[in-house]
Symmetry: C2
């Protein structure tokens, strides 16, 4: 399996080891707080050098998934982000409440045109001009979800530029005079990550995602933005409060 004696697949060995360990955690073979096997044992399992294992563990530690303790062992840090679904859902508040560091980034903003479905959600006519914003959100340094957000280009001109500057949907809406907003119905489904989202979420091949479709309204019930979000299923659990 070394780079020297087999045809290279273009995927680094340490990445395969890291994915394997992360999968073990996601599958529950290693629970939060568990001690992983020693570096030597992992190296034997994957038939690689101990240094290669250390590279893999370093990558996982850098993302906050494991934590190494000198002389003792390496322990699983990861726990799924508890993500309550309430009428007032703010990513930064949820992540902050878990003691983790929220971070958002704009991937891309572009003009779009309302499909029939989008128009219905936003209370517009099909074909109405929209702004489409593609974002990614992380807790600590681990990507949690990527979202596609649509806003009416008529109501929110230059929304893409404003989001790029503020990096917050809440602040963006404030700029346009929206002081508060509520989440309407939320639709949750599941699927398999596609190649684009896999790269953005730093997610391994064929992993499941949670798909959330939701529309936010102002306090009068007027639709403001509608979102299509894909969450890494292994890093989050939704809590629906009764």
């Amino acid at each position: 399996m070394s780079m020297q004696d087999t045809a290279s697949s273009g995927v680094a060995l340490w990445r395969l080891v890291a994915d394997g360990i992360e999968r073990g955690i996601a599958d529950g073979r290693f629970a939060a707080g568990d001690k992983l096997p020693g570096e030597v044992e992992i190296a034997e399992t994957y038939r690689v050098n101990r240094h290669t294992v250390r590279r893999a563990l370093a990558a996982l530690a850098e993302r906050g998934i494991v934590r190494a303790e000198r002389g003792s062992g390496t322990y699983v840090e990861a726990q799924k982000l508890a993500y309550p679904l309430r009428s007032r859902t703010r990513f930064s508040e949820i992540v902050g409440a878990e003691g983790r560091e929220p971070h958002g980034r704009l991937i891309e903003a572009s003009d779009d045109v309302a499909t029939r479905e989008l128009a219905r959600e936003l209370g517009l006519k099909a074909g109405a001009p929209l702004v489409r914003i593609e974002t990614i959100r992380l807790a600590d340094r681990t990507p949690i979800c990527v979202s596609t957000t649509w806003l009416s280009a008529g109501l929110f001109p230059d929304a893409g530029a404003v989001f790029a500057a503020t990096r917050s949907m809440t602040k963006l809406l404030e700029r346009y005079g929206v002081r508060d907003y509520r989440r309407g119905a939320t639709r949750i489904t599941a699927g398999i990550v596609d190649a684009t989202d896999a790269a953005r979420l730093d997610l391994a091949l064929g992993r499941p995602i949670l798909v959330v479709d939701a529309t936010d309204h102002d306090l009068d019930g007027k639709p403001l933005v509608t979102k299509h979000s894909r969450f890494a299923a292994e890093r989050v659990e939704f809590l629906v409060e009764s």
Copy 2:
């Protein structure tokens, strides 16, 4: 995106380019016989060095997916393997008839126990001992499908070892005195490749697969083997003759 100026993802750049081009072919953006953009143009598209593009194209050419012509361009070779579904279905014959080189390999053989479904297919009782054989089949050097095959351990003792030696299901059955066999009902569904099969089929993230479940019978109608096969959807098309 170079290995020098960004945090490395553990996936080689040339592999990302190769996957991108292969996806373009699979999606129909480039049809069989089409000329790909020039190496310089591809390099600009992906923002990599021309040599990196050449590495990607070499990997695709090595698998017979594209063909470079000096002074002219690089052309799409790939065409989906036409896979007729008849009562007498033999992989090697189908592949050979297309002028491609068939190749089979044993991944794993192990003992198993019949679920209710498997028992019904094979005419056994639930819980009956089975041999489970995991195989992969390739045309030229491109993986086409992975199959899980179950046989009755009572009727075919040591089937795993025999298959490892003969690498052919037809020859395996011959060893046990089966001179000919026919395929019964074939069920075709579709799905998304899982991580294990993705690695085995050398398939990119989240790609679709064709799932075929079938049972072979001897000429008296007695069930012999039942199979669960996963085909790379972008490399094969099934032909059902009327």
